[in-house]
Symmetry: D3
Subunit: 274 residues, 6 copies
């Protein structure tokens, strides 16, 4: 975490003049951060960095991405009681938000693994402004794929691009303009779009809001044309933990879902001073 | 929104070299942001500021905090097609996250209003790091109370403070150290704590994780002692949309719940180019 | 002090290419910061942070807020001679400006304590742009009350607000809009204003530019109506060290004066290398 | 003013959630900034930049550095009443602090001009951390010389340097290390030091804490040796508005005094809404 | 260009107190930026942004990436003479550095195009710290490929990685850890490495510091194994404008050379006021 | 180096999500930075600061400004292999760019020293935006003079100033406006300009784009008028390593050339892991 970013987070939660924490004497204390429900824990590295900023000694009791049963202590903190009170909320907010995403990601990953081992579960750019790095890391720690980080990652040609320029022209421009080091992904809404994208040499094809049955047919067509191994296939749009298995078994490589960040509940954790 | 903050949000989503949006010709276009489900809309002001950054002309079709039926256009944007594609995700992320919180807040506010008009529904500091200002604003636009912004707002004496110092000493120090312009709030876990806090002159008493029945008894005791009008009463801890009405009818003034920010789903919105 | 803020202060005084301090060999040295006049010292914590930035070891010889007689060493610094020369002016500027304010504040606090123990002496927002946190801390260390930090502290309804909206409407809006965690203060210019503000439930009433005699009458009226214990009373406007005792004995709770920051002289201190 | 700096100043005074100014309806208003005492006005340019940030239209009625009689309007502001209330305190703080310094500088400049036209009155680095650019500009607008901005301006060899390295070595190093584009100034405490500094080719000699009589003698010696026109002479240390004329008539070129920034009172100004 | 970045560049060249440009009256003027040697021009967009910052009206007379003969005016600027003097050096530094890179890139691109149309000329990460975005853009405008922007672009497995972990493990980890949206590139030093990288499914193979003759052989081997169309081939290391044609005709797809940024001379341009 | 600046440089080269370096296990390693050609090394201090940021232990084997023969190790680094890979490119870019400038500067300095010992070789403001401090430091370490850092250094009256205002008025304004602590330099294009500048009391005269023969004549004229010792003489414009000796022997004090930063090649260095 960049120091300037960490300072912004700290300042947001403390403000210009904290009379609450400074009531407390500057004595040594120990605090336990406890998970109050089952979860896949993440954000421990961030919690350690925040602790270090406050000159606190934090010791994680689990690895990030590990399953934690309800009631377990996940982080032990030692140092100035006053500083612990100042760091408390920021540490908990990181852990709660990130672990919520990791837990939901893991749930999806396990469902997919049962029906189609090797298929990836990926996130999207539907993340809280200013907090993407942490939300994507939480997906990764939950076993998911962060997908491209921003518009400068892989070139992604979407419906609005195609509407403005046509698919052929989009791909031609992407190949001409974008560095050879980037993949070109095309979002398609039907099998005709898939066909053309594959022929034009897209590296990745995303089936957007298509039925599993249609996707199955699409995969078969590509196989018959000998193009299947040349393209990564991704399903996206309208996918939830409820229907993810249906998509997983279509023969594609990746399932991406905004659900991971849009609907993740925060995990309940608390910090207890001793 | 500070310009430096806006630039950080923009840079996070665009990155250092965007080949995706720049495929598209720099022609004039119009786009509609459409709510794909019923919601209480918020974040329109932020959407306008983001649009202005990209030299786009954005016109909101609803007031913030207004109810929007599924399928409605909430924002109309005109300007460079390329810039619209660059601004799209950031605008949608603001609207979706903020409106999700406003919608959930409104739901709670309406429930409370039916059983106890005048009782406030408030947020907490359980917010996404770096995004608090917007999450608290979303609560406000949903009809809620943002509660103190950070540790420098009202002095809040919590369990961990009391464990370290004792209630009397906490309040004494708060009165001595904190500016007279700040309120002093005390978190209590039982009626004994409430009694002492009221006698010691707390401005606000928070019933933390207490049963509605106990709170009713507490309110009655304060009334009998003539202290009720001297103190604001807040219930907090374990409150959900499911049990909020029980708390609302206990005779207290404010209900605060982390649920508003921890469990709010994002509203589904999309941007459609013409 | 945020690291980014500290770096700005350091850069301001050193600039891009310092040929003055770097003349000197990089040997170990000791320096004494000496008060060249009687004062109440403050800024020692900032001086330590600046020293730490330059890898210097600084040891304060007084507590902040303590009285220091002329000629005393207040801070002992050890480390690279070159670094001491680079840190010198910034350390002295902090100490001199802050101690000047603390000293003047203490003078007022002592005067008030003699005629009306318990009455607070408070600052205002009349502070040097960019340096408020330190000027308010200097007031606090001198024994004063920092008053609200900025517009986001307590709601303060002033003459210009009332001129635009009327007092009733101002208070009504403040109660409806502002969080229940904030106090509402009303600035009044006569006893009629005081009456209405008290009836409308202001938490704090500020007598602005009123004669001590009028204030005495106001306090008496509130007492008779049984409202005195419900409201904090503050006098402000035109108060100086010369007339502060007259205000202190009017029966109010707080005296605020811009004088503390507007007219404080800097304390004379020097750094002597050995 | 850099935008990032302006935003910091604005944020310091407004904070994260302003309920005070936003009470007021967003109507058009006019406000007058009025000087409540005689002064030399400065900071009007900054006031305009702050106004522009808030989309307010500010029109100065005096030139910076001009004398303003008590009661005069110095700046007329039009725009949103709410924005005026948000900008008010920051504008006043700039004007009050800067005009205080300009007024005191002008007083010294006029005294000096009467006894020794052409002698400059200069500031020092004794400025409020983070606010130097404005304090030095206020000196300049009052008719003074800002002196070197920071350690990277002219090389200044002071007592602490000489104590560590000896005068000869200091000057030798300065000539060898510092760019030929910088002047070399030497602080001397007696005429012997002056002699050696002049012989070693200092561009500027500063008489530090020396009696006017000694300085007169020093100037005479330099004249006799034909060195007077080769060196700029500055008096510094212990100079106040009370003794500045004695120094001005010693034959030197510049008088520098920390007094300008250390002891300047703020000018009383107020903003009146119509 | 982010505003905060632009302000840093401006501040670097102007500093805290500019007495040079402010000598000049604030009159309207016109200035011409003239190329004093043949070049491929780039940086005009940045020049316009800098001009806009200074409220100057800048009109480019060429497109970026276009060939400009010696003596031509490339940019016409109108506005305050004082502001033109303040913007002059920064504008020229951008144009001179960027056009130097574009000119050298174009030279290489033309050489390659004659012997092997379609082969790309790419940059590296050997760029001036803090100025990469502009140096890579200059390569792009010269007709080159910017290559990955930083470590977060395509995964690049280099000699030091392989030494630590072995090639198989490197590729296995890259496939497991990195998002499916990123390409995996492997740097090889001989044909054996090429063989293994191709078999393990590298998306891009970089021949590092290999002879053209060996590369020709490598391309032939891949062709025979039917792997040529599955992998992008890049030559790198020790390539200069002098030997680039030999590499271009080996049958590879991309030639990358640090030379473009390491050895580009600045183009000579001057700004002439009228 | 300011921490915030260092973080910007690091972030530029690493980006938001580095999958390349993190492939590698977090084991201890040693790396050697080796010069692959003869050079004057500089940037070692920056390399150490970058290493420290990554918690690496870096030990320089040469002093900055020292001559380093081809094949020598210049810096030894120990620490996490992963961190070394992350720091590698930034360290090399600093060393390669800075050493290139130092090497070229030294070459010029040695040429000048042979024909005219004592004459300085100086840089200009023709530096890469955002990187000036390091490029000027490289000149200094190569034995050159950094010249004024930016517009706020010495007042420099150039052709464009004179065209707008006339020489007399420029110098008059500079003397009146600029602090007495700054030197005034005038750029002249012929001996007539030199005459007037010297008479008007310029501290430095720059012969801009003049023939060595004319400069010789100018120096002689000043000598005859007894003004030579009152003014520093600088030659600039069109000077290269090829003609620098001709300028050096004209009797001037300083030769400044943009060539040092505009045409310096980067030194070839590599980092080798063990």
């Amino acid at each position: 975490m960049l120091r300037s970013e960490l300072e912004r987070f700290v300042y947001e939660d403390i403000g210009e003049w904290d009379d609450s924490s400074t009531l407390v004497p500057d004595i040594e204390a120990r605090a336990a951060v406890v998970a109050k429900e089952d979860c896949v824990i993440s954000g421990l590295q961030e919690a350690e960095e925040i602790s270090a900023y406050f000159c606190l000694d934090a010791c994680p009791l689990y690895d990030e991405g590990e399953f934690v049963p309800k009631g377990s202590e996940v982080l032990s903190i030692r140092g100035s009681a006053r500083k612990i009170l100042q760091a408390e909320r920021l540490i908990l907010n990181f852990l709660a938000r990130m672990s919520g995403i990791s837990t939901l990601t893991r749930e999806c990953v396990l469902k997919v693994a049962q029906v189609a081992p090797g298929v990836r579960v990926a996130g999207t750019r539907k993340t809280t402004p200013g907090f993407r790095a942490y939300e994507k890391r939480a997906i990764f720690l939950g076993g998911g794929d962060p997908h491209r980080f921003n518009l400068s990652g892989a070139v992604l040609i979407k419906d609005n691009h195609i509407r403005l320029l046509g698919l052929e022209e989009c791909i031609a421009r992407a190949k001409a303009q974008a560095s050879f080091t980037k993949k070109i992904e095309v979002e398609v809404e039907d099998l005709d779009g898939m066909d053309r994208a594959a022929e034009l040499g897209a590296d990745i094809i995303m089936f957007d809001n298509m039925d599993p049955a249609d996707i199955v047919r699409g995969v078969e067509i590509l196989r018959q044309r000998g193009l299947r191994s040349r393209v990564v296939l991704e399903a996206s749009g309208g996918i939830t933990p409820g229907n993810i298995e249906a998509y997983a078994s279509t023969g594609i490589d990746v399932i991406s879902l905004g659900w991971l960040t849009r609907n993740a509940r925060w995990i309940d954790l608390s910090l207890e001073m001793e």
